[in-house]
Structures are given as C-alpha cells and as structure tokens.
Symmetry: D2
Subunit: 300 residues, 4 copies
Amino acid sequence: MKIGFIGLGSMGAAIAANLVESGHEVHVFNRTPARAERLREAGARVATSPAAAARSADVVFTMVSDDAAHTAVTFGEAGIATTLKPGAVHVSMSTISVAAAQDHATKYREAGLGFVSAPVFGRPDAAAARKLFIMAAGADEHLKIAVPLLETLGQSVGIVGADPSQASLVKLIGNFMLSAIIETLGEACAVAGKAGIDPMHLVELLTSATFNAPPYKIYGPLIASQRFQPAGFALPLGQKDNRLMLEAAESLGVPLPLASLVHDRFLRLRSEGLGAESDWSAVALCALSDAGLSKQPPGK
Amino acid sequence: MKIGFIGLGSMGAAIAANLVESGHEVHVFNRTPARAERLREAGARVATSPAAAARSADVVFTMVSDDAAHTAVTFGEAGIATTLKPGAVHVSMSTISVAAAQDHATKYREAGLGFVSAPVFGRPDAAAARKLFIMAAGADEHLKIAVPLLETLGQSVGIVGADPSQASLVKLIGNFMLSAIIETLGEACAVAGKAGIDPMHLVELLTSATFNAPPYKIYGPLIASQRFQPAGFALPLGQKDNRLMLEAAESLGVPLPLASLVHDRFLRLRSEGLGAESDWSAVALCALSDAGLSKQPPGK
Amino acid sequence: MKIGFIGLGSMGAAIAANLVESGHEVHVFNRTPARAERLREAGARVATSPAAAARSADVVFTMVSDDAAHTAVTFGEAGIATTLKPGAVHVSMSTISVAAAQDHATKYREAGLGFVSAPVFGRPDAAAARKLFIMAAGADEHLKIAVPLLETLGQSVGIVGADPSQASLVKLIGNFMLSAIIETLGEACAVAGKAGIDPMHLVELLTSATFNAPPYKIYGPLIASQRFQPAGFALPLGQKDNRLMLEAAESLGVPLPLASLVHDRFLRLRSEGLGAESDWSAVALCALSDAGLSKQPPGK
Amino acid sequence: MKIGFIGLGSMGAAIAANLVESGHEVHVFNRTPARAERLREAGARVATSPAAAARSADVVFTMVSDDAAHTAVTFGEAGIATTLKPGAVHVSMSTISVAAAQDHATKYREAGLGFVSAPVFGRPDAAAARKLFIMAAGADEHLKIAVPLLETLGQSVGIVGADPSQASLVKLIGNFMLSAIIETLGEACAVAGKAGIDPMHLVELLTSATFNAPPYKIYGPLIASQRFQPAGFALPLGQKDNRLMLEAAESLGVPLPLASLVHDRFLRLRSEGLGAESDWSAVALCALSDAGLSKQPPGK
C-alpha cells in the first residue's frame, strides 16, 4: 500500500517504522528534516512537504503535537488537502481538540475526502512494540480502509462511531482518567508517607491487590519515589490535554470538578517553574508538597 | 485449630464458612442470632457472646460494621478481651478508624494479648471464593500465627508492617482510591453522554484498553447505566469510610482535595434522600445530574 | 462637548441620558433602533451607525454586551475606528476580555487614536442615579479628557493605570469577588436553614454586624428567599464574566480554585435549564439544593 | 450588679475592664493568675476558681479559647455550675462548637440554671472600644437579664433565637464568611500581581468602590503586602473554627465546598510550618504561592 506519514516525533517515528517494516511504500515528512533521515535508512522515502507525502497515497497518517500543527500540515499551503486523492483516507493519530476534529471532518466531507480520527493510548515503547490501544471513528467506508492498517499498529482498535471528533473526545477522556489516577496516587502517597508508611511499599501493596492495572503500576512508583524526570509524557502536553478536555466539557455544558482540580495543579506547577523536562505525573507533587513531603520545592 | 468468629454479616458469614470448610473448630457469634444458624448447619458451634467464642480459641476473627461495634465486641462486658488467652491472636478484618486501631493495639499490648489488623478488599462473592485481597499488620509473632490462616481466605496477603493501625489506613486509602474511580467515571460518562457517545460504549472502549482493571469493569457499567441498586457496598458505609479517611488525614496534617470533593458528594446524596438501599457508586450520580443527564432526581 | 454613545441597553441608556441631561450634544446608536427613540425624546440625536455617531465627536462611549459586539462596533464596516478623529477618545465602559482590551489598545496606538477602558460596578438604577463606581485605565493624555466626564457619571473614578486592559481585569476581579460572595451566602444559608435558623434572619443578623456592605445586603435577601427572578444581572452574563476571568488567569498562569468552583456552578445551572431569565445569584441555588433546601428543582 | 468573669485573654480582659468601668462588682478568674493582676488594679476582685467567681453572682461571663476550656470552667471540679445560683445567668462569649453549646444548654436546663450563648465579632481593640458585634441566643427570661449588659459591651446585639447553640452556629458562619473573603482576596491579588497591577493598588481601588466594608479593608492590605505577622487572630484558632463549622455542617448534612477549600488551605499551611505566630489571613498565601508570587516559602 502507498502510505504518507507526517510527523516523526518519538511516537510517529516508531509507528512509521512499523509501517515500513510491514512492507508498505511509506513517504514520510517531518518539519525538522533530520528526524526523517533515520526513517530513510529503514527504507522510507522522504518527502519535501505534506502535500508531496500525500500525493497518490492510499492512506495518509498524521501524528503531530497540537491543533496548530494539525491544521498547518492539513490545510496549509503545501498541506495534505491540496493533493489527497479521492478515495484516499487521512488517518489522524494526534490528540487534537474536539473542535478541530469537527472542523476537519466538515471540510473533508465538503471536499469529498476521507477522514478517520484514530488517537492512541500508549508511550513510544508501546508504539514500537505494536502494543498501542487505538480509538477510531469515521464513516464506515473510511474505517474499512483504515482499521485493517491500524490493527497492525496496536494491540486493539476500538470503534467509537461515525463522527471522527468522538474519537478525539474519548482520547481526552482517557487522559483525564489517567490524570485522576495521578492526583489520587499523590494524595494516597501523602497520607501514607505522613503516617510512616513508605509510599513505595503502599504502591506495591495496592498494585498487588485491587489496583493491579498498568496506570497504577506505571505512575505509582514514579510518584512514590518523586521521580518526575525524564518526561515520558511532558507536563505541558498533559496540561494541554486537560485544557482541551475542559473546553470540550464547557461547550457541552458539563461541570468537571475533578478535571478542574487537576487544571489548577498544572497551572501551579508551571508557575513554580516546572516545564517540558518534567513528566505530567508531577501533578502528584502538589499533594505531596502540601503535606510537607516534597523532597524539593516544585520548581527546583 | 480452634477459632472464634464474631460478626456474621454477608462478608463475615462467607469467611467463617470457609474456615469451617477448612476443618477448623469454629465458634461463631452474631448480635442477631438468626444469622448464626446457617453457620451451625455448616458445622460451626454457636457461642452466646464474644467472650464465649473467644474462650480457649487460638485465633479470634472479628468482622463488624464500625468502630462502635468493634469496641463493643472487644472491650465490652462480655467482650473478647475478657477471655482471650495469652498467646492467642485477635485478627480484626473490619474497616475501622486508624484511631480505634491504635487504641486497640495499645490496650492489647499492655494486656499482653495478640492483635493483627487485617482488613480486606473484595465483595461477599470474593470472600466466598477465597479471592479477597488482605492487608495485614501486627507484630511478627502475631503475624506468624495469623498470616497462614489468612492465606487460605484470600488470593493474597500483603504485609503492611508492625503497627496494626497502618493496615487500617491502607484499607481506607484503598477505598478512597475506589471512590476516586467512581467520581472519575461519573465525570467521564457525563461528558460522553452529553456528546452523544453512549456511556456504556465508552466504558467498553476504555476497559478494553488502558483501564482494563476490576474497579473500572465493576463500577463502569453500573455508572453508565445508572444502576445504583441493589447496594453492593452501601452508600452510608462508603460515606463512613470517606469520613474515616479524612479524619486520619486531618490528624496527620494532610489536605486531600479529591477526598473532600467525594465527601461533599456523599453529603449531597444523603440530603437528597439516598441511603443504605443505594450502592456507593451513586456518588457518580452527582456529575451526571449536574450535566442534566440523571435518569431521575437523585432522591427518587 | 460632542459625544458619541454606542449601546443603549439598560446600562447604556441610563448613562447616555445623564450625558444629555448634563448638556452635551450626544449622538446615540443602538443595533435595535427602537431603544434609541427614548433617547431622542430626551434630547439625543440618533445616528445610523457607530461610524456616524463617532464622526467629529470629542469622546465616544461604548457600552455593549460582549467582545464580539465590542469588536463589531469598533472595527467593523461602519465602526468607530473608521471615523474617529485624531485627539478624540474612545471610552469603553463594557466588560470585555483582557485579550480584547489589549488588542483594541494595540490597534488604536498604531492608528494614533485615543482609548480609555472604563468598566463600571453598579446596576441600572445606580447608573441612572450617577452612583456607579468606575475603573479607568489609559494613557495620561486620554485620561485627562475622559476622567472629568466619567466623574459626572458615577460616585467615584479609580485610576487603575496606563494599560487599558488592566481596567478590564480589575472589573473581572470585582465580578469574581461578587460571585464569591454569592457562593458564600449560598453555603451560609444552607447551613443555617438546615439548623432551623431562617436564612433571612441570618442575613439580617450578619448584615447588621460585620457584613454591613452593599453586596451582602443586595444578594443576601435574594438568596435567603430564593428569589432569582427577575434578573438584575443575568446568569449567562455572570457566566461569561467568570469565563473571562478564568481565561485571563489561565494565560497569566494563576490557579483560581474558588473561581473554578463558581464556574462549575454556572455550568450545572445552565444544564439544569436556567438561563437569562435568572439572576446570577442563582449560583447560590446549588449549595441550597445540595442541602436538600431548594424550594424547587433548579431548572423549573 | 455582681458579675463573675472567667477568661482574661486579650478579648476577655478588655471586656471585663469595661464591666468594671461601668461600675459593676466584677469577680475575675484566669487560669494563669498573672493576667488577673491588671484587672485587680482596675478595680476587679480576683477569685481563686470559676466556682468562686460565680458564687452569688447575678451574671457570669466566660470567654475562653475552646470547647475543652469551656467544659472545664463550667462543669469541672471547681466549675461555675457548682455554685451558680438559681436565677443567675451564665453568658458564654467564647466561640465553641454547636455540639458543646447544645450539651451545655441541656445540662443547665435540667439543673434549672440560666444560659445565654453570646459570641462576638471583633478584635481586642473593638472589644476595648465597646464596638463588638454580639450574637445572643437563649430563653427569653435569660436574654432579659443578659442583653442590657451586652448592649453596654458592643455596638449591637443581634438576637438569634431561643436555642443557645444557634448563636454559636451564627458565629461559626460569620467566621466562615470571613475566611471566604480571605481566600477571595488571595486569588484576586494573585491575578492582579501576575498582571502587573500592584495588589495594594487593587485593594485600594476595590475598597473605594463596591467592597467598601471592614473585612475587605482589614484583610486586603495584609494580604496585598503579605504581612501575616503578628497574628490578630491566630492561624490555629481560625483552623479550629473552620473545623467546627465543617463538623456542624456534616452533622446537618450540608456540603460546603468553599469551607472545604479553606480547610485544605489550613492543613497545608500547618504542614508547611506555619503556626500561632501567623494571622489566619495567611490562608491567602496559598493562592499567592501557587501563582509564583509568595515573597517567601510559606513555612519560613
């Protein structure tokens, strides 16, 4: 299959490499060209623009960092929409806002182009190991093309529905639920630590019992040991997704007090100086710090 | 082994039956005698008081509903402490306050009696199936006696430490974490529902992906379908444990904004008329109701 | 003095009438022409567009409902900026976003036009009685022209500084502080009512003591008696200002948990069906309702 | 009139001195005798116990720091209740819990003794200047004796009702409302400061406008300048009253999210090391600190 792939960050590069490995003809593009070179060595062809990568492709994937980048590579001057052929499908794996996904869907529908939103759960190592959880939404005729490909890239593909923006919302909901686990673990470790129970021991006890699930096992030890660097998922990206969730909820008329609590944690950490070097699980630092347990002031 | 067992609610009865089945000589006591009859048929002997059940026992279990009941069966007129023999161990499986556990530990230490706090995670069906997760804390010499027995009653026994009250705290932390999942699912289903995604479909998608863990699988469908009756764990009991958690945190000097949020949910539901007939997952009703999605007013 | 006045809602009409009464030549414009007729009877001249009202004016006032209206009357096709003469000053009394005020200030500076932001505290009756509290910010040369006029329209004019957007922020802060009083009174009346103290009596006691200040005296009786109609300041406008405050805080990196709490109250009331017919003090209904004390379900 | 006065802290001493100055025969008692000496110089007689101060008195005042002290001086070994004569009235000016006031009322009713709860709003300088706001509740026959005396000690006496505990609740509600103002000012100053508006200037602008009321004028400058020492009302006392309010609300079934927010602020400050040397307005430090604006880390 002829495939375009735009966006070669750590997630995108891992996914594109898997597509190459599967024998597809993959035309890659990245704003910073250096990152494309490694893919060229693996067998990909390097395009000079999103439009070039999309030209005559059957499927074009995008995996970029935010709404602005998504809009630029799609609808910008040398964007995908300028060359995408009828019958081809654009599969967006980025976490973008519900509003951006709706806007994209409307424009493609009017232009007769195919669009599937397919954001993913999982970190770069899961992407490399084809272990992602993928949420896909789009019209049946587009899903028919996208899903078989997506199934080769992750361990499961959940079909959300026909409206691409709903997959974006499910992804934001999932990240909200992860942020709730982070806050919960922060408060739990704060109480335990103050009572003389080693937070790491607490995490072991709980993840050996009812909380035997990946998010608790991944974030528990990071929080218990206050190891928030290096960033697996950078604090500002977590903050962005929290903001997108609250914006979606606001426009739907849904109060989310727990998401608002996490929102305030992000603002506080940023004001105290934390940034992209920190993992978003640093949200737990607020509860620990308020109990007098932080190993160092947040911003240091 | 000769065993006393006090408290034959749905949890206690299931555990006591397993002890009988394992071949122990079990002397049971329940405030409401009728509940003891079923155990008699299974082979237990029915005692006329906690003191009688504890007399000459090697191990005495208690599984009662709150601090007051715990204190009454232990230190009351015909309480366990009046007959427990030196070298025997009192294993408390109840969820009691940290302060009550500390008080108990102090009194038993002074009296030279053995005490292990061993609260459990799991519902009555898990108790019957010996699938409980048990958290145990106490002095080594008492754990040495209690743990082998506990291992026959659950799928794992986590050793918290030497201070019995720490096991009570870990249990309260676990219940706090479950209440956080309930609130999280309420907010998640509210957003999804308002966006036209069937909450039940959302739960299926998420529990098939990253949130593939028992608490999400148990509470997700209840919340998505707003089925809060019958009560698996009754609302007032969940409220009691939330209060115990906040009291423990207060005396440790730890602010818990997420637990406070849940605290206010409980108060609201109670004021709106919900009680013991409702499961504590009704906490999620607040988020659903505030989004205009509750199928019926909370108190109806 | 020759004055243009755009926006004749209940606030704008009262202020414009006072300018006419003071002997100025006032050219008024309102999107809905009918509202201008009453001013014409009072002695104003009715213009056919903002541009017409601003032509050859020394000072142009605007008092419109939101950012969109502000931008339209200022920078739209027949907007003020198309005719405002050099040396004249545009005095914006509307509550607009900090970002909109900054944008306006930048454009006017580049065009060499005068701009003072002068939002007000007070309801229509206070406007009519020249009892408004006015917050003004702008360059000295523009304040020199605007402030003497503003002083005839209110009981005091506070000079915030040279940056017009700071007056907008102070106005948003003031409205946030009023919303905090409303929430506070809701919680206070809920506790009192549940304890058998008539909330109206509570309000009398407190406003006769330490809380002897207009906001408590205005909102206290409304909340105690649950009279949220008619709207003095409509719920959706209060919600809009809360949103503008949170947006300003977000871009400044400031968490505002109390403003977030009020934010969620607004969303809840809107989802329960309340709208422009209700006063924003209905925010207090949430606390009363959660205590089981609301006289009727929010949305009825 | 013959008067007993128990509790000569800064509030009690100022009130007792006013009673002496009014010509009453005042028998004072304080746990730390040194504080009574100054009153002796002013004309009071120093008693050796609460019982001695109350013997043959027409009215006995108590102004002590908490429930425990109140219970000790009233029902302790040489407590007031042991000597109070029939027809005399015990006027409690302390801020005590609703439960303690109820308990006191019940016991006195059974013993045929008179009880009025009359907590006050105001700091020691207001007490000295007879400017207190007093809230009084009790049976008519007891109010008839107490109120004329109270009217000489403050600028107004509000009659809450016949149930003494209701005056305690109104006092706790008032302190809750003050704490809400403190939190509000903290958030307001945080936004202003981050936007380049001097918080002190903000406070001047607002207290010259709608917020022209004592609590804003007293706390505004303290918060804007981050001057939290010396303590006018000590942080731990503010925390105690917040806890009493939440306990009263809990037993009434009323969720108070704003009071819960303030509750968490207190816990955080205490864990960060602040104590009795700090004024309770330091609650505002949390909002300032979370915006990156605190002049020094909370606990320093």
